[in-house]
C-alpha cells in the first residue's frame, strides 16, 4: 500500500468505519432477502427471485458433483429434498462442500438417505453424531420398522 494511501486512509478512518457499517447492513439485508426469497425495497423483485433461484441451483449442483451416487439414487427427488433442506438451511460460512455434507446429515436425520449410501455416510462422517449410532442399532435390529419410519418421515 502506498505511503500516500496509508496517510489518506488514516485520515478517513472514522468515515470509512461508518461507511463500512452502512455497507454491512445493506449487504446483509440483500443476502437475507435472497436466502429467504423475500422482496427488498428498491430492488426488482423478479430479478431477485431469479438470482435466489440461481444461487440455490448452484448449491444443488455442488451436491450433485460432490455426491454423484446420491444424485443418481434419488433422481428427481433430489431437487425436491434439497429445496426442503434449503428452505431452512442457509449456505454455511464454510462454503458449498460443507453445505453438501450438511445436506447428507439432513437426509440421514430424516431417515431419507438411501440404504446403500447410509453405510458410506456413516463411516465417513455420520459417526460423529450420536443419533446415527441409534439409527445404526435400529437398522441392524429392526430393519422392517426402519422402513416404516422412512415412509412416515416423507
Amino acid at each position: 500500500m502506498s505511503a500516500e494511501w496509508r496517510a489518506k486512509s488514516k485520515e478517513m478512518e472514522p468515515q470509512l468505519a461508518n461507511w463500512r457499517a452502512k455497507l454491512a447492513a445493506q449487504q446483509t439485508a440483500l443476502l437475507e432477502a435472497l436466502t429467504q426469497q423475500t422482496p427488498l425495497a428498491g430492488f426488482d423483485t423478479e430479478r431477485l427471485q431469479v438470482t435466489a433461484l440461481s444461487l440455490r441451483q448452484k448449491r444443488l449442483r455442488t451436491v450433485e458433483h460432490a455426491h454423484p451416487c446420491l444424485a443418481s439414487s434419488l433422481g428427481l427427488t433430489l431437487t425436491e429434498l434439497f429445496n426442503e433442506y434449503a428452505e431452512v438451511h442457509t449456505l454455511p460460512a464454510a462454503g458449498e462442500v460443507t453445505d453438501s455434507l450438511q445436506f447428507m446429515d439432513y437426509l440421514a436425520k430424516c431417515d431419507l438417505l438411501p440404504n446403500h449410501l447410509w453405510r458410506g455416510y456413516f463411516l465417513s462422517f455420520g459417526w460423529k453424531h450420536q443419533r446415527n449410532w441409534w439409527h445404526l442399532m435400529r437398522r441392524i435390529t429392526q430393519p422392517a420398522k426402519h422402513q416404516e419410519a422412512t415412509e412416515s418421515c416423507r
Binding site: 500500500m1 494511501w5 455497507l23 449487504q27 446483509t28 448452484k58 448449491r59 449456505l91 460460512a93
Partner: protein, 272 residues
C-alpha cells in the same frame, strides 16, 4: 496467448493441447499446503503459466480482506510459481451469511472508497500482482451513482491493480441491464489489461445467465473481437466449470481454436 481454466475433468484435454500458454486454478479447490498436483506440475514444466483465481476474498464486502484467505492465495501462488492472482469486484458474504456466488456492490462514492481500501490491503499482502474481474449480474442495486465501467476504471486507476476483463460477463450485463457496450469499452484502461475471460452461457427468457456450462454464444465472440481491436494481442482464457458431456473435448477444442484465431488475426492486423 491462449489459456483455459484448469478443472480435473479437463486435465487430459488440456494435457493433450500443446498450444495452451496459461491456465487458471481455482483457489478454493486447493488447500494451502497443496504442492502442484501431477497434471499441473507437468504443465508448469512445459512452460505453462499458472494464475491463481479466487472467488471468496470478498473485496466488495464491508470487512477488510481476511488474512487467512490472503495467505492461502500467497501459498498457492508461490507453490505454482504464479506471476498473478486474480479476484472479483464483488461481495460474497455479509452478516454471517454466505451467498455462494459473486454478487454486485452498489456503485457509490462511499463504496468505492471501501473497495479501494480492501484492494490495497489485499495487494499489500499478496506476493504477486492482483488483477480484478468484472462480474455478471442478474439484478442491479438501486441508486447507483456511476455506471459499471466508470466504477471499474476508477478502482483500477486508484489501486494500480490490473484488469481481468470477462467479455461474457460484460455481454451478460449489457443484455440484462440494457447498456451500450461501446460506451463501456471506451472507458476501460486497456494499458492495465492482464487478460480476458471468455465463457459460455444460456438465455432463460430475456435474461442471459453466465453459466460456464454451455457453449460460447456468437455475440460473446463478437465482443471478444471488439476488445481485440482495441487491445492488439490480449491473453484470452476459456472457462468451463460444469456439464462435461462425452464430446466435450471436441467442443472445447473448437472454442479454443476460434478464440485463438480471433486473438491472432487481430494481433496481425494490429501489427500491420
Amino acid at each position: 496467448m491462449l489459456g483455459i481454466g484448469w478443472r480435473p475433468e479437463l486435465a487430459w484435454m488440456i494435457h493433450k493441447r500443446k498450444d495452451i500458454d496459461f491456465i487458471e486454478i481455482l483457489a478454493e479447490d486447493f488447500s494451502s499446503t497443496h504442492k502442484p498436483i501431477e497434471p499441473i506440475k507437468q504443465l508448469i514444466n512445459r512452460g505453462v503459466e499458472v494464475i491463481v483465481h479466487g472467488t471468496t476474498l470478498n473485496l466488495g464486502g464491508s470487512e477488510i480482506p481476511n488474512r487467512e484467505s490472503l495467505a492461502h492465495l500467497n501459498n498457492l501462488a508461490r507453490e505454482h510459481k504464479s506471476a498473478l492472482v486474480s479476484e472479483h469486484l464483488a461481495f460474497v458474504k455479509a452478516g454471517g451469511l454466505n451467498s455462494g456466488h459473486l454478487l454486485p456492490i452498489q456503485r457509490t462514492q462511499e463504496n468505492l472508497e471501501i473497495v479501494v481500501e480492501n484492494i490495497l490491503i489485499a495487494q499489500d499482502a499478496l506476493c504477486v500482482p492482483l488483477a480484478i474481474e468484472n462480474i455478471a449480474t442478474l439484478f442491479e442495486w438501486p441508486d447507483n451513482e456511476m455506471d459499471e465501467a466508470t466504477f471499474l476504471a476508477e478502482v483500477v486507476f486508484r489501486t494500480g491493480v490490473s484488469l481481468l476483463l470477462d467479455v461474457a460477463n460484460l455481454f451478460a450485463n449489457a443484455t440484462n441491464h440494457k447498456f451500450d457496450v461501446e460506451q463501456y469499452l471506451k472507458k476501460l484502461p486497456y494499458e492495465k489489461l492482464a487478460y480476458i475471460h471468455v465463457a459460455g452461457g444460456i438465455f432463460k427468457g430475456p435474461l442471459y445467465h453466465d453459466t460456464h456450462c454451455h457453449s460460447i454464444k456468437n455475440p460473446v465472440l463478437n465482443l471478444l473481437r471488439q476488445v481485440c481491436v482495441r487491445t492488439g494481442s490480449p491473453r484470452v482464457l476459456l472457462e468451463r466449470d460444469g456439464i462435461f458431456p462425452a464430446n466435450l473435448d471436441q467442443e472445447l477444442n473448437h472454442e479454443l481454436d476460434v478464440i485463438k484465431q480471433i486473438a491472432e488475426q487481430k494481433r496481425l492486423s494490429h501489427v500491420s
